[in-house]
Symmetry: D2
Subunit: 332 residues, 4 copies
Amino acid sequence: MRAAVLHAPGEIRIEERERPSPGPREVLVKITAVGVCGSDVHYYEHGRIGPFVVEAPLVLGHESAGRVAAVGDAVTKHAVGDRVTLEPGVPCGRCRECRAGRYNLCPDVVFFATPPVDGAFANYVTIHEDFAFALPDELSDEAGALMEPLSVGIWACRKAAVSAGDRVLITGAGPIGLLAMQVALAFGATQVEISDVSEPRLALARRTGATRALRAGEDHPAEADALIECSGNADAMRAGIRALRPAGTAVIVGMGPVETAEVPLALIQNREIWLTGTFRYANTYPTAIALAASGRVDLDAIITGRFPLEQTERALRAGREDPGSVKAIVHP
Amino acid sequence: MRAAVLHAPGEIRIEERERPSPGPREVLVKITAVGVCGSDVHYYEHGRIGPFVVEAPLVLGHESAGRVAAVGDAVTKHAVGDRVTLEPGVPCGRCRECRAGRYNLCPDVVFFATPPVDGAFANYVTIHEDFAFALPDELSDEAGALMEPLSVGIWACRKAAVSAGDRVLITGAGPIGLLAMQVALAFGATQVEISDVSEPRLALARRTGATRALRAGEDHPAEADALIECSGNADAMRAGIRALRPAGTAVIVGMGPVETAEVPLALIQNREIWLTGTFRYANTYPTAIALAASGRVDLDAIITGRFPLEQTERALRAGREDPGSVKAIVHP
Amino acid sequence: MRAAVLHAPGEIRIEERERPSPGPREVLVKITAVGVCGSDVHYYEHGRIGPFVVEAPLVLGHESAGRVAAVGDAVTKHAVGDRVTLEPGVPCGRCRECRAGRYNLCPDVVFFATPPVDGAFANYVTIHEDFAFALPDELSDEAGALMEPLSVGIWACRKAAVSAGDRVLITGAGPIGLLAMQVALAFGATQVEISDVSEPRLALARRTGATRALRAGEDHPAEADALIECSGNADAMRAGIRALRPAGTAVIVGMGPVETAEVPLALIQNREIWLTGTFRYANTYPTAIALAASGRVDLDAIITGRFPLEQTERALRAGREDPGSVKAIVHP
Amino acid sequence: MRAAVLHAPGEIRIEERERPSPGPREVLVKITAVGVCGSDVHYYEHGRIGPFVVEAPLVLGHESAGRVAAVGDAVTKHAVGDRVTLEPGVPCGRCRECRAGRYNLCPDVVFFATPPVDGAFANYVTIHEDFAFALPDELSDEAGALMEPLSVGIWACRKAAVSAGDRVLITGAGPIGLLAMQVALAFGATQVEISDVSEPRLALARRTGATRALRAGEDHPAEADALIECSGNADAMRAGIRALRPAGTAVIVGMGPVETAEVPLALIQNREIWLTGTFRYANTYPTAIALAASGRVDLDAIITGRFPLEQTERALRAGREDPGSVKAIVHP
């Protein structure tokens, strides 16, 4: 099989690799669609994300879907030919975090495209059967791949406890912000404002349901019950926190350039605001599939480019080179 | 002004009454639409509901909207001419339940159309300004009146913690069940099944979004995360509880004919199911208005009759006399 | 090694068995103390508990502690000689319930002394290293064995959301009720009433901290925030529910003789009471150890008999034969 | 009656004032004990706290207890002679925050000793009967006065969801930190570490139950489930946040010298830590009374000075002048 392998910052090679064999409880999946995530781009450009350093050739890609090509001896949940989407992190299932239902915080999780674990820019991958989810007919393979960033939005909305009639502010209209926005609407939020510096992204936000699109730093957000920060920009975060009602919740999803940030602490105290961040997601895939299959979210709307495996590098550069790019999909 | 006054079971008289004057923090509201609730019908037919006995002439009606006709000296939130919907129960604001945010359980609440407090089948009522809510232009007066039963559905969905992608079973497709069903969809539920014995009501359920309509006692519900019981029928409740997934929640809204009911206790234990009931609602009006104004729920769909104040009695009898009747509205 | 094996109702044989070998992630534990649970007695007397039927010889006992005698190749958390208490149910770690943190509801859990899985009335058992917990010096082996029923009490108090200053009613002063009572005190409850028909058990309750001991069916409980039902008696359950404040919680721990029970449903609705049940426990062992090691609960107080492995049958009959018996311990 | 009146920073005058008359639902309370709070000291020294500026003569003091001296016409809950403790903030009872149970965030709250509302360094005050709580015989008047700072500790532990077996880190061993520490123990926490720069305060912490007392900036805290920051020091806050387990909670109680603070945001995200602050408290007085009356907290231990009303100024200066001072009490 072939795979797109990162050898050094800015250097992807298409290589032949041996097709993996599934373990007893694993399935072998022929990958048909993989979304390009900002973290893939970051590894491609910088060779690392914080403490995670690419020290050996690495296959990127963790937003994936495909078709079951073979199953291990003990597999009971899938059969050859099934269309599936892959939850890319398999936790240990036994540690304190796993037992408490916080398996996204499992210190022993094995996660696609995180050094030294290979990802899905390849013809085949294997995964534990419980982390492959059947795709209903309503969902395309591309939509299947996007269950992963959709999960990020769902997790943020759950942390923010978004519920029907809520007022949600999203800062940052990149792929995650745009999906979090649609998810907030699917959770029943009736005022969903989103801010960005990019007019094309704001236009896309308007088309996909934003009740108001704000030019970051210029327009003032209305009072909100929840902030979902997706820009990684500390000013946006602070402005968003100031827009929260008393006892509102700020969920920080976007990663900033530095480890620390200044927050309006007196205001957090006086209004008893809750602030937290998200790290991946847990227990979101069934919800993601249900929302997409029932038409509550429109995933096609954010796909702006499609590339064969051989052009994975172009897909990784699309965001830098085309300001209109939102989400690129690689089709191995 | 005129009011429709219950003097004895089955006996409503249209009478002239003195127009009330608003207290300092009260507004006088000219009532334009009042929904007929099952409890109004029960008082009309039986003169009592459990411990609440009609011992003196009583004005029924607690689902109401209208226009502000006068304001007390200290009113700051409304002006003459404002269109408003009325939350019909004004709690004390200071007792243990009120302080804890459970004001629907306030033992000193003053609630419309609950002996000895008069309701809204009248030209005018007064209410504390904080329990009148501005109606946005998107909402008709009739829709405004229906913020009350919509609140019952919202409260049930909140108790059941319905969230996006959930699977909800509603038993009973009367006005409350039908609204709870629409609310569950607005909360993001993607599988919403509803059961009833009436085919016309099931047809209405299908038209307003049910993902499946079940003939009660015949069709089997799918596994559900939450049950919202709106039929008052113990068999329906038990069948609904058995359909719940482990750790699912059963919210009992419908009042049965007797004080007690047999429940599958061993199953509740083995699956750690949560069971509770609802009594009115708290903190729901802003949500109800937001959901209706944004088009997430269709209130017109359940209105099946309109009557002038003089025909309040006909409105109260509509449910018994017309099997297709769902929600009658009185226009004073 | 030797084990006490149930061959038929009322028939325990002490047999030689092959000592088990630990798997790669398992530890072999030399058992030093095993508590006798009501479920052991039920299997011994009836050969079944509901759907669980003893169809082949079975070793009972699931409240156990001991010393690590050998470790599998991949074990990292324990060493030979460590004193440990055993959480007797090992869940799959991957299903919906496990992922959500509700691993006690895992359909594939492997649980000691539940047909066909053998328990701990034996010299040795093996268990996954993550389900053996180090015993601090403050805790005896007997106390270690009682981490299991203590967990039942902790789980009940968590379900009831018992917190500091709460008022808790416990119905039933058997081993579970008595431990739940101590746990409620350790959670900070300041009014903890307990009811039973047995005066010796009420006396023991008083000695171990009950703020009031009630003769079941005679004395009236005070208003409570939470009910923890440990008697399996439906009248006690109903009386307890009626004692709850509005929005209080009833947690049903005791198993009754039949599958269903009549509950005061109108009251549950009017007061918005929450009712649920418990099935085993999850994430309780670290808490149990911390509470016992810090002296917040007194486990010795409930131990009323000690038996060698050869007298397991006497231990199982102690509850029937001695009305003063509360908790018997077998020392293999 | 006499009152200690702040006229300017550093200037308290003992003045004769007219005894207030209780309104219909109010009680007149003869004050017998008032604790000195850091906010009183701050007003005394600076004439303001943030946006709250003393522009007219102001009576300080909001930690108070006394005896009912007269009651309004409509009072039903108290009688002349009753010993009571006073919850010093009376909210409106009707706004969004009040209705949601967050009455501490009511924008219209009337709070003792907050300009322009007078406090309790006086012979008499009036208060709505629902905000006076009966003192049981077990509690002295001084303990009654300390229900207020005890409430701050309870509120912090509730925000942090402290439960039995938890590990809590308190930073800052002033009156609030010391009480929060005792409250954490009363909530069942079994590891309660507290840090400060003052050795006498750490010694007091050890005497009142700290499982470990840390020299701030030198000793490293153990992993904790919750941080309760009571020092107002940003370094202490950051060190405390870094000690939290994944998904742990940081509750910021201490007010720092500036409006903003730098936080380790990447760590908050990667560990999904929750951060919030507290503003006063809600629904804590019954809990405070229950904990103190049952002996779960020792309030006498923190009282280090007692002063007559005439020496209110000395009481306000005690903290500055005596490094061993923790809590001064004024006895009007």
